[in-house]
């Protein structure tokens, strides 16, 4: 099925959905749309994966920075 959303609307919804920052009603509406739009379903699902992966990476980077800060303090 061809996506009926405008491209700029899709961009905002996909990014917001992945970030979990959409209003509950907007989330529900987008999820209903995703249930019948393969393109948006794939983009929305993958955006969540990317968001999670970036969270994981942030944690590792922060952990490394804190390690270095502690090492400096111990000197």
């Amino acid at each position: 099925m061809r996506c009926l959303l405008e491209p700029d609307q899709t961009e905002e919804l996909v990014v917001g959905y992945g970030a979990g920052t959409l209003d509950p009603s907007a989330t529900a509406a987008f999820e209903r749309h995703m249930s019948c739009c393969d393109v948006c379903r794939e983009a929305g699902t993958m955006q969540q994966v990317v968001w999670g992966a970036l969270d994981q990476w942030r944690d590792v980077v922060m952990s490394a920075i804190m390690d270095r800060a502690r090492a400096v303090e111990l000197r």
Binding site: E11, G16, A19, T45, Q47, V50, L54, W57, V61, M62
Partner: protein
């Protein structure tokens, strides 16, 4: 002048309301917004020659800037160096500061500019203290997860390496936009000011960046 540098809390700012159909849960008042007047006031004092006010700004924003620059250049030594350069430029530009511009917007615009130049010049690639090694080694040392087998640990590190590589492969402006959006939770307007483009351009930039990340990390699903 070399004032003591002290880590400070990363300021969090709310996301914008994007359109009539897209809303946000995040709080409308943020620490950055609440302290804008205070920052501007401090910067005006700096303009008038008050070094203590400059030290206060430095203490407050050094941490957030280092974190931002670390994520941008992925190199701890270069991030430290760039952070100092940002504050040096702020200090040297104090005479031209106008409170009509948000202090943080101005600060991050300078930081973004320097980071993009650094990436363009490949300074972060030349340094020997890349965060590449530090990240995985640091994480393993910092939070050893005893439940993970060696195989799982290797897989985890490999995935992190892929994420890092995917981020690194983004064009510099896209990377900057993602870092500011994802990790600094900056508004579109703030990102636009920092990068020097329109809000709609930022939206497109971000979507293209995330689209590229989705394609590169699709196998992680």
């Amino acid at each position: 002048m070399t004032p003591d540098l002290v880590e400070s809390r990363v300021p969090r700012v709310p996301q914008p309301s994007w359109s009539a159909r897209v809303y946000y849960h995040r709080a409308t008042a943020s620490p950055i917004q609440q302290t804008q007047d205070r920052d501007a006031e401090l910067m005006l004092r700096v303009r008038d020659g008050d070094q203590r006010s400059f030290e206060l700004l430095l203490e407050k924003y050094r941490g957030p800037l280092i974190h931002f620059l670390h994520r941008m250049v992925q190199n701890d030594a270069v991030a430290e160096e760039l952070t100092q350069e940002v504050f040096l430029r702020v200090y040297n530009s104090r005479g031209n500061y106008e409170p009509s511009a948000k202090f943080t917007t101005w600060l991050f615009r300078i930081a973004t500019h320097l980071a993009l130049n650094s990436i363009r010049d490949g300074r972060n690639e030349k340094s020997h203290t890349s965060l590449d090694k530090v990240t995985t080694e640091g994480a393993t040392r910092q939070v050893p997860d005893l439940r993970r087998t060696v195989e799982q640990e290797l897989l985890y590190e490999a995935k992190l390496g892929e994420v890092r590589q995917a981020i690194r492969s983004l064009p510099a402006k896209q990377r900057a936009a993602v870092m500011m959006h994802k990790y600094d939770e900056m508004e579109y307007a703030q990102i636009a000011n920092a990068i020097g483009c329109s809000e709609s351009a930022v939206k497109s930039l971000l979507f293209r960046a995330y689209e590229a990340l989705r394609a590169r990390l699709a196998h992680m699903l």
